[in-house]
């Protein structure tokens, strides 16, 4: 008996915490190297601004209040659209996964619209919804919706049948199984869907601003292109990347918090 226990202890010890990647510093070297390479390139290409010029341009735009309002406009759009799209997608995705008739009703539409890039809806959205905020928020919501509904639906379909049976033999009815087993079990899929959905929203936002907007990061870049302000284009490009990364990390953080019970191997 004690032998068994120590054998199990040994197994416990095997599950040591994840080793930290010893090569992390290479990532830093890589980024610094990239900036250096950019700098060197700017010495030979007269049209290419160097990193310092781009930073100065960014500070200048910010101090004139332009950049701040662009960022706010973009974030407002993306967050509104993302909230609406994923907020509708999650309950509908659950309904699709749980009730076959609902699945049959919705699936042809998600299948079809999944093959249509949300940006392709923009011309139509502008015709019907005008050129204000509504069409932009609409296509962003659509982008988030399509990604999240498919992920949620897949999550419900992938709920381990054994867990459902385990619930049933412990006396769980349909509603309890849904609430206490199907929902938590599909959470990992949903958080992945939300991450992809936010990424899709962000990509759609920038593109929609390139087409029709009066402010926003995409608009700023489009405008700069007309006036040949390459440094401004770079400012926009970098900020889009940085904000995209920050938002992704925030969702990832929630994901890890909410699904830390998962076995990750």
């Amino acid at each position: 008996m004690t032998v068994v226990k120590s054998a199990e202890k040994a197994k416990e010890a095997e599950k040591a915490p994840k080793e930290s990647n010893p090569w992390w510093w290479l990532s830093i070297v890589s980024v610094l190297g990239g900036i250096l390479g950019w700098w060197l390139a700017s010495l030979t290409l007269p049209t290419l601004p160097n990193p310092a010029e781009v930073v100065m341009r960014g500070i200048d735009l910010f101090q004139r209040g332009i950049l701040g309002s662009d960022i706010l406009a973009s974030l407002r759009r993306v967050l509104t659209g993302f909230a609406i799209g994923s907020g509708l997608a999650i309950p509908l995705g659950f309904a699709m996964g749980w009730y076959r008739p609902i699945r049959a009703l919705i699936e042809p539409w998600t299948q079809f619209f999944r093959t249509v890039p949300p940006l392709a809806i923009i011309p139509l959205a502008i015709v019907f919804l005008g050129i204000g905020e509504v069409p932009k928020v609409f296509v962003i919501a659509l982008a988030a919706f399509l990604v999240t509904i498919v992920a949620t639906f897949q999550g419900v379909l992938n709920v381990d049948k054994t867990l459902i049976n385990a619930g049933r033999v412990l006396g769980a009815g349909d509603m309890t199984i849904f609430r206490r087993i199907a929902v938590p079990a599909s959470l990992p899929f949903i958080t992945v869907g939300l991450r992809q959905g936010l990424g899709a929203s962000w990509a759609t936002l920038v593109a929609s601003e390139l087409i029709a907007a009066q402010e926003g990061l995409g608009y700023r870049m489009q405008n700069a292109q007309i006036y040949y302000q390459i440094d401004t284009i770079f400012v926009g490009l970098i900020l889009i990347g940085v904000f995209g990364l920050i938002m992704d990390r925030i969702v990832l953080w929630f994901d890890l918090k909410l699904t830390s019970w998962q076995e990750r191997r």
Binding site: M1, E8, N165, A166, R168, V169, L170, P184, L187, W261
Partner: protein, 258 residues
């Protein structure tokens, strides 16, 4: 001493599955009666329908024809008097060990303090008290299975249905779990139907070993294990044990080809 009432009755159960559009008879007209407080093990080649008949008894699968009766009543779904333990543990990974054990009690609307007390007792019996607040992912295989057992015991079922519960454990842990299971069974009498592919395990645990055959799934032979309880590890080395094991082994591995 043993009350010889019928606890579980399989009455000519047949299970037909649809496989690639064709009907496939997994179990054919199988009848078996398990007495109250009896410990029955079921062995047989893989695919012979062991899990199928257990799922019928659990109420997770409706027989195509025939019926399963528990305490004289036809099984129509799962019930709290039948605890089920699955090979893959089937713990809820987002709940702690304690929350897993309390899950069934919560569904029965048992007050919190009482729930806690029952869980504490089961955790102690299964040697998991120190891991009450751990998540399943941090447990070894043996601990996971003990947690699954504690979860099933917590609702105090009079029947335990176990589908290769120790199949994934290493030999040492497995032997230990077998003794513990018998220990608990002798203290709190229950009717146990235990599926295994390990002939030694089948003989060591059971009053009777049910040997099944495949295509279609049916009972091939029933071997009585006339060894007294409590069963000790030394008994595994006796000639009596060897004789029974050989008999079971023969009937599992030397079934005439159909």
């Amino acid at each position: 001493m043993m009350a010889m009432e019928d606890k579980i009755v399989f009455d000519k159960v047949t299970q037909v599955f649809e496989l690639n559009g064709k009907a496939f008879t997994a179990v054919s007209e199988l009848s078996l009666t398990i007495a109250d407080n009896e410990f029955v093990t079921v062995v047989g080649p893989s695919g012979c329908g062991k899990s199928t008949i257990m799922n019928q008894a659990a109420g997770l699968l409706q027989p195509t024809t025939g019926e399963v009766r528990v305490d004289g009543k036809r099984v129509q779904g799962p019930g709290p008097e039948r605890g089920v333990i699955f090979q893959q543990y089937a713990l809820f990974p987002w709940l702690t060990v304690r929350q897993n054990v309390e899950f069934g009690l919560e569904l029965q609307k048992i007050p919190k303090s009482e729930r806690r007390a029952i869980a504490d007792k089961q955790l102690e019996l299964t040697d998991l008290t120190a891991f009450a607040d751990a998540l399943p992912k941090n447990l070894s295989g043996g601990m996971k299975q003990r947690c699954a057992i504690a979860r099933a015991y917590a609702v105090n079922p009079s029947i335990l249905l176990m589908d290769e519960p120790f199949g994934a454990l290493d030999a040492l842990t497995r032997v230990h779990m077998q003794s513990q299971l018998l220990d608990t069974w002798s203290k709190e009498k229950r009717t146990v139907m235990f599926i295994t592919h390990d002939v030694d395990e089948a003989v060591f645990l059971a009053n009777r070993v049910i040997v099944m055959a495949a295509r279609p799934g049916r009972i091939y032979k029933i071997v009585d294990v006339n060894l007294p309880y409590p069963r000790t590890d030394e008994m595994r080395l006796t000639p009596e044990f060897a004789a029974i094991r050989n008999e079971v082994w023969d009937s599992v591995y030397h079934q005439p080809n159909d």
